[in-house]
């Protein structure tokens, strides 16, 4: 039997956003093809390390130099250095890219994409974020506001399961939360002291896509507090495409998943003024294939989707599909993670915790949100992720200590420490860009991606302020003057936040943006881009929930357009 090549809808990529597109489109009755460039990762079955203890790993969990050499770029982030998760990150030799300026492009090519390894932090945006570009003139105005996305956030949160506490903060709207992970006694203490010293700041429970409380989503169960999420969770305790949206899509009978299918480009049809299908290269056979559909969702991740669009050249679009504005590939954003502060907390020497929370605390942004606190030399703002925990007595590998007492001492708890790390907003800037290098092709004959992005004054000033405020807050908690700041400026490269976004931005004007308010390419309305490429600004909170909500919203739009016959 020859392979089916025509579908109602095609979704490119099966990660966080692609999984949502697949679920929504399939559930509406559309025959949907999901094209995924990597291998299968089946929920539970393909999490080989999920239940492994340190002693179960070969060679004590160390890997050889030869093996390290295959992931030299991915290893710039600690997550990929973890022997238990490295198989969810790409092989850098097979998947090269170019850096005009250093750029950390952290990713995994397999079913589920980075939904398997993500940090699961989940925060809504507010109108402070949606109006920021308009108010300070950086980038272009968002074509939507909070009220447009609010119901979609709710839909997504209810489906994926988000634990957190309601706080009634204008800069961080509440959502549909299940019971929060409890704070430990030192976290409660720090919250009290910090909020006493800074009445306008809030130290709150983190919000994350973990299942808590009574009602677990279908086919999943409560998080077991083991903090091994990035290996894949056999309980389905956190949200991934693999545990949640893809099984839902599959259940409809309308879902076709094709692995090892590298999308090369989207095919433009001059007659209809729309896209008619996609060109695919089979990853294993290198054969060229074509698939057709009435509507196409680009969810290959920010960089992946942008590369596909840039490579989709036609007479109508010589510089890449939808690139009338010249903004495709530009305005790359991320979040800065340039440091924070931490301190010892005294007075709880006889207390300890058991179990491992996979998420601790959040401190939402407080500067430039309309209150009394203004950034002296920067616009926008930053928030912090953090928490308090009691550490083991340090191991002192380098000291001259040996012997039984020394050994047994290390089995005890040492100090409690509280720490916060600053996540800062990066402004949209046309100069921060990615483009394709046609002289350097990859193993499948596709042009490689080159990055040319850097932090500028606003980001650096903001990060310096964030570190300094972190130090002051730590000292306010302890009443001492010895908090330690950490400065990652030398280690950070653009992309290190793993929140790359913005290279096919939404906007009101086709002259300055790639997508409209429904995530459709202005000039090619049956192509929707709903991964991070669509973002018009970056805010300072983790973005994936916003990609999911925009995807669900755009899918609903596409479904109704199809019903109306707009794309036929």
């Amino acid at each position: 039997m020859s392979e089916q090549t025509t579908f109602d809808a095609i979704v490119i990529g099966s990660g966080i956003s692609g999984g949502w597109a697949a679920k929504e489109l399939c559930e509406s009755g559309l025959k949907t093809l999901v094209l995924e460039r990597g291998r299968m990762v089946e929920h539970v079955k393909d999490y080989p390390t999920a239940m492994m203890d340190p002693w179960d790993f070969e060679h004590g969990g160390y890997i050889s130099e030869e093996e390290k050499a295959t992931q030299l770029v991915q290893r710039r982030t600690g997550q990929a250095r973890d022997v238990a998760a490295k198989h969810f990150f790409v092989n850098d030799i097979d998947h090269p890219y170019n850096e005009d300026k250093k750029f950390n492009w952290m990713r995994g090519y397999h079913v589920g994409g980075r939904s398997l390894t993500w940090g699961r932090q989940t925060y809504r945006w507010s109108d402070i974020d949606f109006e920021a570009n308009k108010n300070d003139g950086h980038g272009v105005d968002w074509p939507i506001r909070y009220k447009d996305i609010d119901p979609w956030y709710s839909l997504v949160e209810k489906y994926i399961g988000v634990q957190g506490s309601k706080e009634d903060l204008p800069q961080l709207p509440d959502g549909e939360f299940t019971e929060p992970f409890p704070m430990n006694c030192v976290e409660e203490h720090c919250k009290e002291k910090l909020e006493e010293a800074y009445p306008d700041r809030n130290l709150i429970n983190c919000r994350s896509a973990h299942v808590t409380g009574e009602n677990a989503p279908e086919g999943r169960s409560q998080c077991q507090l083991r903090s091994r999420c990035r290996r894949g969770c056999p309980y389905g305790g956190y949200f991934s495409s693999n545990s949640s949206t893809l099984p839902a899509a599959e259940k409809t009978g309308n879902f076709t998943l094709r692995m090892f299918s590298i999308v090369h480009s989207i095919i433009y049809d001059d007659e209809t003024g729309m896209a008619k299908g996609v060109k695919v290269i089979d990853q294993e056979t290198k054969e060229e294939l074509t698939f057709y559909s009435k509507v196409i969702f680009c969810n290959a991740s920010t960089v992946g989707s942008t590369a596909i669009l840039l490579n989709s050249k036609s007479e109508r679009f010589p510089n890449g599909m939808g690139n009338d504005s010249g903004e495709l590939g530009h305005n790359m954003m991320d979040h800065t993670i340039l440091g924070g502060a931490n301190t010892r907390i005294d007075g709880f020497e006889d207390k300890y915790t058991r179990g491992k929370k996979p998420g601790h605390l959040y401190l939402p942004k407080f500067k430039n949100i309309g209150g009394s606190e203004k950034g002296k030399n920067f616009v926008r703002g930053y928030g912090y992720q953090g928490g308090a925990s009691r550490r083991a007595v340090p191991r002192e590998y380098a000291s001259n200590a040996i012997g039984g007492e020394y050994k047994d001492g290390m089995m005890k708890f040492g100090d409690w420490r509280f720490g916060i790390t600053c996540f800062g907003e990066i402004l949209p800037d046309h100069r921060n860009k990615m483009y394709l290098d046609y002289d350097k092709k990859d193993g499948w004959g596709l042009p490689t991606v080159t990055f040319d992005c850097e932090l500028r004054e606003n980001e650096i000033n903001m990060a310096n302020d964030g570190r300094e405020e972190a130090r002051k807050m730590c000292n306010a908690i302890t009443g001492r003057d010895d908090a330690k700041t950490s400065d990652n400026t030398n280690k950070y490269a653009f992309g290190h936040g793993i929140h790359e976004m913005g290279t096919a931005r939404m906007g009101r004007d086709p002259k300055t943006s790639v997508l409209n308010g429904n995530n459709q390419i202005h000039a090619v309305p049956n192509v929707y881009v709903t991964d991070g490429a669509c973002m018009t600004s970056a805010a300072c909170v983790n973005p994936s929930i916003t990609y999911m909500a925009l995807t669900a919203r755009a899918a609903s739009h596409a479904i109704s357009e199809l019903k109306k016959g707009t794309f036929s």
């Binding site: 203890d53 060679h59 409560q222 083991r226 915790t353 058991r354 491992k356 001259n400 040996i402």
Partner: protein, 210 residues
């Protein structure tokens, strides 16, 4: 997936599991688990070197109310890392250190380093560690540099301190990632099910292993 793994994932799928208090003290039978393992054969080190190194790991981490380095089979871990992970320069340097330590031991005790009494091992190893912390750090730093000193005494010290500081690190990491210590000495709680926010510490309380 091996059998052990399969068993573990079955437990996983049962979902919320009862948490058994793992904070009970070290059971005196713990060491036995390893004692019944058949005679272990090194894959990289010579049997004689392995024997000597193993005795020295026991000086670094001796048996107390909790197992020692020998119980935790730290030597097996070290042998494996040398074969598969360490670079040749590093293992060569380590073995050169052992050789020089052995020569000194032979001079002093009149027998090869593999045949010392446990008191003699303790004396030998301690003589390298029981020096003021600052002096020790200086020697450690010198030993971890690339350039080898030309002076013979300094050269001995260079290799010997490389050997002992490496051995100490390996003993700590091998011990604390061993199954014996992880499952039976520390608080082994792989599927907690709950986050306990504020427990009272007792003298028996130990840190979590996973």
């Amino acid at each position: 997936m091996n059998r052990r793994e399969a068993l573990k994932s079955i437990t996983a799928l049962v979902g919320y599991s009862l948490t058994i208090s793992a904070t009970t003290g070290f059971l005196s039978s713990c060491g036995e688990k390893r004692a019944v393992v058949p005679e272990w054969k090194s894959v990289f080190l010579s049997q004689a070197d392995a024997k000597a190194i193993e005795e020295m790991t026991e000086v670094i981490f001796p048996k107390t109310a909790t197992p020692g380095a020998k119980d935790a089979q730290v030597i097996k871990y070290i042998d494996d890392l040398f074969k598969f992970i360490y670079k040749k320069e590093e293992t060569d340097k380590f073995l050169e250190g052992l050789k020089r330590v052995s020569l000194k031991a032979a001079d002093k005790y009149g027998k090869p380093v593999g045949g010392l009494t446990s008191e003699q091992y303790t004396e030998l190893v301690s003589s390298y560690f029981n020096i003021p912390e600052e002096e020790f750090s200086e020697k450690r730093r010198a030993a971890n540099k690339e350039e080898v000193p030309t002076d013979e005494i300094a050269k001995d010290e260079y290799y010997e301190y490389y050997y002992f500081t490496t051995l100490k690190s390996l003993t700590i990491s091998g011990y604390f990632t061993s199954e014996l210590v992880g499952e039976e000495v520390l608080d082994y709680n792989p599927v907690p099910g709950v986050y306990e926010t504020c427990l009272e510490e007792t003298p028996e309380t130990r840190i979590a292993s996973v």
